[in-house]
């Protein structure tokens, strides 16, 4: 299909319809992702409502500095992919290559920092599973476990989404070198960008909820 110069897939009447369908589809997909994380945030809210002290104590145990650094990294990466989106639309392939590479590197940097945080938490006995000893400075260690369980589940799921995002950006880099269909590439980078921004926004909610509740 990709050999067809106009890049129009058979089921569509024209390129406008195709573009509109692609973008609409991506938005509907993101809607399901919102519900996916939304339910997770609801679980968090109920747990926090039931055990406010444990959650405040828990957030003091997280490394807010590293969290802040990661927030900055992710926000910058969103800027980079937004520029890449513009660059592809103008068919500025070199700029697009740089910006996609920057996005990828920032994404990987986020994952590295996150991994380092996990390592610290592992060393300091803050991992309430994997048969590790769990240390909690306050009296309500049970709820402390619940907090850390939620922390690992939420950030882990977010990190997983970011890994998928990095894969997408890799694919975009490859397509950017190879694709001879600017219209198609624009749509693809646009979809990847939407996804990346979404993952970024999830972090913008996760960061204050987990690190900054005081």
């Amino acid at each position: 299909m990709s050999e067809r110069p106009e890049a129009l897939r058979f089921q569509f009447e024209d390129l406008d319809q195709q573009r509109a369908a692609d973008e609409f589809g991506m938005w509907v997909f993101l809607l399901t992702e919102v519900l996916f994380f939304g339910a997770l945030f609801l679980v968090y809210a109920v747990a926090r409502w039931n055990h406010p002290e444990a959650f405040i104590d828990g957030s003091h145990l997280l490394n807010a500095t590293l969290g802040t650094v990661n927030t900055a990294i992710l926000l910058t990466s969103s800027l980079a992919i937004a520029v890449a989106d513009l660059a592809v639309r103008e068919d500025a392939r070199r700029l697009a290559r740089w910006m996609l590479s920057a996005t990828l590197l920032l994404g990987l940097a986020f994952l590295a920092v996150k991994g380092y945080e996990y390592l610290l938490e592992y060393r300091h006995h803050r991992v309430p599973f994997l048969d590790r000893p769990f240390e909690w400075p306050g009296p309500d260690a049970r709820e402390g476990r619940l907090f850390f369980n939620l922390y690992f589940a939420m950030t882990g799921l977010h990190a997983l989404h970011l890994v998928v995002g990095c894969g997408l950006v890799c694919a975009m880099l490859w397509l950017n070198e190879r694709s001879r269909l600017p219209a198609r590439l624009t749509a693809q980078v646009r979809a990847a960008g939407l996804y990346w921004h979404f993952v970024d926004v999830v972090w913008v909610f996760l960061f204050p909820l987990l690190y900054l509740v005081r």
């Binding site: 039931n50 055990h51 002290e53 444990a54 306050g138 009296p139 309500d140 260690a141 049970r142 709820e143």
Partner: protein
Amino acid sequence: MLESLADILGAVTDFGARVDALFLVMLAASLILVAALVALVVGFCVRYRRGRGDHAGPRLDHRLEYGWSLALLAVFLGFFAWGAWVYVDQQRVPDGTLQIRAVAKQWMWKFHHPGGQREINHLHVPAGRPVEIVLASEDVIHSFYVPAFRLKQDAVPGRYTRTWFEADAPGVHRLFCAEYCGTQHSRMRGTVTVLSPDEYAQWLAERTPDEGLAEAGARLYSALGCSGCHEPGSQVHAPGLRDLYGRPVALASGETVIADEAYLRDAILLPEKHVVAGFDPVMPSFSTQIEEADLMRLIAWLRAESRAGGNDGRP
């Protein structure tokens, strides 16, 4: 009259008779509706079958469907109100109940009478007196179900749930676990024997244990070390417990809660959750040191000690 009609279904509580009455009326309404629908569908299929040429004439007016929908809505709301009324009445536990504590576990029911009498799967209660069952679970979710009482309440691990009934007359009724709880779920059944008040008193007397539920709680109060801090005159600054049950408690967070069972359970297991105003959060959690049955004993003692105990602080 409706409730006497409902007698044919054999409910033995007032709530059961009211459920049956509602059910029978809804059943009758449903039967009328289904009969009308069947008559219409069959009638139309015969009258307007293809080839008979009888489909000329004015079409149905669309106002009809709005009228139909609004009429149904009114009927539905009526049934909802009826059902909700019966349900809400049942949710309100009356004063002066006989309180029996039930602990569910895979796959049995353990009952504790106030006098300390214990039984497994086969519960004995007096007729003509409201009996409250306070339910806890040691493992998974179970459900206390007595079909003859039309009564069901889940027992959820980590919290107390409660239900109550007042049986009319002596008799033996089935007790089932209604919430699927694992391999032997269908074996988690027993009986509820309703005795006349005299027989019940006799039954209790024959089984009087060395100590009642509250006495056992009092023993635990010192054995677990509660008294070391909570007795008046102790070195540690801790709130007194003897007249606590059913009273309002001001919390450090500024809220005021009633010291009911759920609160006391949390206060023992999760002391950080509700710190009492004017006290430091120094109490350790007892979640790993106390089991459901002992918790029930402690709370039974607190309830017995309190002068406000009778009404549980609930409306």
